[in-house]
Every structure is written in C-alpha cells, then in structure tokens.
Amino acid sequence: MRSIRQRILIVSAGFGGLAAASIVLAPLVGSTTIDLARALDRSVPFSENTDAQILFIARLPRTLAGAMVGGALASAGVVFQGLLRNPLATPFTLGVSAGAALGAMLAITFGWTFGWLGIPAIPAASFAGSISAVTIVYGLARARHGGLSTNVLLLAGVTLNAFFSALILFVQFLADFTDLYRMLRWLVGDLDVASYQPLATALPLLLVSLAVFAWLARPLNLLSLGPDAAHTHGIDVRQAQRAAFFSASLATGAAVSIAGPIGFVGIVVPHLVRLLVGADHRVVLPASVLFGAAFLVCCDVVGRTLIAPVEIPVGVITAIIGGPFFLWLLLRRG
C-alpha cells in the first residue's frame, strides 16, 4: 500500500494536470475561432488585435473565474459535508447562498451603484448578504446549543434558506421587468466576469479558506466518527467545527459573489472524488479543489459552445448534469 503522503502527491498531480489542461485549453475554445499565434503577437497593438482581446478580456478571466469558483465550491462542499457529517450537504445548505442572493437582489432592485473598496455594488451586496446569513445561522446554533450541534445548524440553515427565499420572492415581485431579468441571470449563476478585478478581490479570501481547509483535513476525518469520539481522540471539537463553518462559508460567499449561486458543483465533485480516492480528507480536499476547478471550466466550455453563438449560463449546465447525478446518488445510497 502507498503511504498517505504518496497518495496525496499522486492524486494532486493527477487532478492538477487535469485542472491545468482545462485552464490552458478552455480559452482557445469558443463560438469565435481565435488564432493563438496572432493573439500572442506583441507586434500588433492590443487595441487592434481582436484575437488578443477575445483571449485576454473575454475568455481568460472567465476561465480563471471558473477555476476559482469551481475549486472553492467543491472544497467548501467537502468541508460542509464533513462538518454536518452528511454526504448530501452542499455549500448552500446552511443559507450562505440565500443570504448572498437576497443581497444581490436588493442591490439590483434599488439600483445600488456604490462600491466598497473598489468592489461593485452587486458582488459587495451579495457578499454582505452571505455574511449576514452566516452570522444569523451561527447565532441561532449557539443560542440553542452551547457548541455547534449539527442538527441545530441544519435546522437553522434550512429555516433561513426558506425565509430568505420568501424575501427574495417578495423583492422580485416588486421589481420591474428589466431588473427581474437581471435577477434571474444572477440566480442561475454565470461566469461572465469580463474583468480580472472580481477575481483579484476574491483570491485572498479563497486563499485564507484553503489554508484553514488544509489544517482541517485531519480533524474532519476524526469528526466523521462523531463529536464525542473526536473529543476523546484529543480534538478541540468546537474549535474545529467553528473553523470549518466559517472557512467554508467564506469560500462559498466569495465564490457566489463572483458568479452567483452555481449549483451542484459542491456535491457532484466531492462525491466523484471520494469514489476515486477514498474518504481521507487529506486526499479528498486537494483533489476536490483541483477537480472542481477543471469540472466548472469544462462545464462552461460546454455552455459556451453547445448552441453557439448563444451562451448557456454555466449554472444551467451544472444543474442539468447535477440533478440526475444527485438522484443516482440517493438511489445508490438507498
């Protein structure tokens, strides 16, 4: 049997190659064929070089957004599943995305244009919304229970999801047609970022989350024995649960602020990864970051090319793949 260190290296190299290949190849594919040699030709001024403009302004940021969002949602899914000890949990189970959606809806309805630290209004409002949702769920779980009872967390999350959905419906009901269309597009989830700025803003948040995930890998293994057993193995259960809850929420909130609530990545990828590499979080977490990145980038390529020149938002593609996958998973478990 290979040692755990070897497994981590082999699995990371494999999925890393997949992610790198998809990030390099995806920008070259699209409804307009671009000439790579011309796009990279420095002698042509950028303002006259349409190939370079398509590559560097439209496709590359979009691909990088796909990689960041895919990696973040997939690994946040792993952490939420480990925290809640429930393989069917997703990054959106505890209400992070509902809060983000409400924030974004409000920003669209009221036509907020102000930014915050150079971040445009909609992502800023969405991120603020996810922070409020996380705070409310955490407060509820703490008030009901000294620690972070997973049952109370789940209940609080589900309730908050329902309540925020009702508020979103109310906001939508009051909105005019143009705003309603923008809301719909946001809720579907789309990677059309058209600049590097949102990526640069989200990157530090995601890096912080990933650093915490790396620390969490072993505690999450022990937590799957149950909180009491984890405790008698020498784990500070509350600290680990708190770290898991906040870091996974942060990664989810940052990802959703870039691309909206793209569904199913956070559950499809972790399960495929576990089928391939087993359950050890020290292997599953890096593999999920890399495979999640490759998966979402590829889904977006499908969305951009399937009925080109019409672009299908990537959230539709992941939902079409994810829905049946989720059912298969349920039937397989039953």
Partner: protein
C-alpha cells in the same frame, strides 16, 4: 507511581434533572472494572465524565493525582481511549484508516502517519484478530467486527513508547448491540487483552452475566448514586441485584464457566426499588 483514575463526589445534571449524585469511584492500574446498573442509572454519563467529554457540575477527576480537566487534550487522549456502544462513520473509510485515526493525538498538526504508526495499527489489528479485515471498508463489517476494529483503534490510540502501560480503555456497553455469539467473543477478547498487555479496562454494562464474566471489580450505579463497590465476588449478591434491578435472582458459582452466574427469577414484588 501506580496509575490511578479517580472521581470524587461527582455531580452531573442535564438541565435540572440530576444524573450523577455524589459519585466517587477509583479505577486502579491493571484492573478490569465495571460500572453496572439498569438503563438510565447514569453509566454512560459517568464514562463521559471520566473521559472529559462532559463537564460535571461539581467534583474532582484525577489521573495519577493530576486534574483531568487541566491535562492537555492530546496528553489525555494518549492515555485514555473510549469505545462507544456503536460507531457509524459519515464516510467510507477503510479498516486501516479507522485504526490509524487512533494515532491522531500522537501526531503534530500537519504530520502524516509514519511507518511506526502503521506498525502500531497493524499490531492492534492483530491483537483484536482483525488483521484480515485491514483493507475492507469499515461500513461493510458486521457489528462484532466493527466493535473489534474500534477496540483496535483504541489500542493504537493509547500505545506510546512504553506500549500501553498506564493506559485506560473505557468501553460503553460494548455488547449491548451484539447478539449472543458476538457478546461472548467480545468478552473473551477483552479478558484476553487485559491479561496479555498492561492496560486498565473500564466497561459500563447492564448485563449481569457479562459483568460477572469479565470484571474483577464492580461499581453498582442506581439512579445516579453508587449503591455498592468492591470485588465482583463480593458485590454481586442477591440483595444487591434486588436493590439494583428490582429483580429476584439466583447468584451461584458455575463450575464449567468458573465464575459467578446470575439467573434472574422474577420481578420483585412492589416496594423494591427498580
């Protein structure tokens, strides 16, 4: 110094309902002790208090004279492992992975199990007769096999530089979820372990014959209070069983089994506690 696990005047309550009242027990090094009592008498809670999983309202808990609650988590975990009544994993880990989880308190934050840890895990699997299950998925095992693997994991957890000397294994109703054959198998395994390696075992159980078969000393727990404590042969008497369970029973030495055997006869008439 001789290892000693001691609880003095422990009070514990869930909300306002008291679960443990004035409980004092001593588990000396190398023994096989049992906490015996009916359902709801506080056995599981007492184990949770001893392992630091829950904090008592009052009382002191010491190991070798040191306050358990002031010991670093990992240091306590290296000396004391707990085997729950049943173990359900949220994800599909292999048997070896489950046993290696026991090595957690021996490793640094980002340290990965080395050859020494794997050797200790394999020895623990061998000691519990589960070597052949090493590569199986834990979830696919039978109840008795799971219990053996979790015991192996607990052994790996308390194995230090001096082996398991001075370590404690706490088992919560280890046979309650098992059928007769597995009950006997687990009892034999625990007895065998305790005789072969230096380790102290403390089990909670409501099963009189299991207790009579494995424990050298008993604490009888009734409604959160200690009813009697002492060597099994001394405290496992007709009158104590009547007080503990409200059941008339015959207690006699069985020649083939070579130990006390309890035969419940009838539920006692009204007025007896139970």
């Amino acid at each position: 110094m001789c290892a000693l696990l001691r609880a003095v005047d422990v009070h514990f309550s869930y909300g306002t309902s008291p679960v443990l009242r004035d409980v004092s027990i001593e588990v000396p090094d190398g023994g096989f002790a049992g906490i015996l009592g009916p359902n709801g008498s506080g056995k599981t809670t007492l184990l949770k208090v001893l392992s630091g999983t829950v904090t008592p309202r009052a009382g002191t808990l010491t190991m070798d004279g040191r306050d358990i609650r002031r010991m670093p988590r990992a240091a306590l975990a290296r000396r004391m492992a707990v085997v729950p009544q049943e173990t359900h994993l949220a994800f599909d880990y292999s048997v070896l992975e489950v046993v290696l989880m026991g090595r957690y308190p021996h490793l640094g934050t980002f340290q990965i199990e080395g050859p020494n840890d794997i050797a200790i895990a394999r020895r623990a699997l061998a000691a519990t007769g589960t070597s052949l299950l090493e590569h199986r998925q834990f979830a696919t095992l039978s109840g008795g096999e799971k219990q053996r693997v979790v015991i192996a994991s607990a052994l790996a957890q308390v194995t230090g530089d001096n082996g398991t000397a001075g370590s404690y294994l706490l088992l919560d109703e280890p046979t309650a979820a098992l059928d007769l054959a597995y009950q006997i198998e687990i009892a034999a395994l625990l007895r065998d372990l305790q005789q072969r390696i230096p380790i102290t075992i403390l089990v909670s159980t409501h099963d009189l014959n299991f207790a009579a078969g494995v424990c050298t000393s008993l604490v009888l727990l009734s409604e959160g209070r200690v009813l009697a404590t002492g060597p099994t042969d001394v405290v496992l008497t007709r009158s104590n069983i009547l007080d503990l369970y409200g059941v008339e029973a015959d207690v006699r030495r069985h020649d083939d089994a070579g130990r006390l055997v309890v035969v419940p006869i009838a539920r006692a008439a009204r007025g007896a506690p139970g």
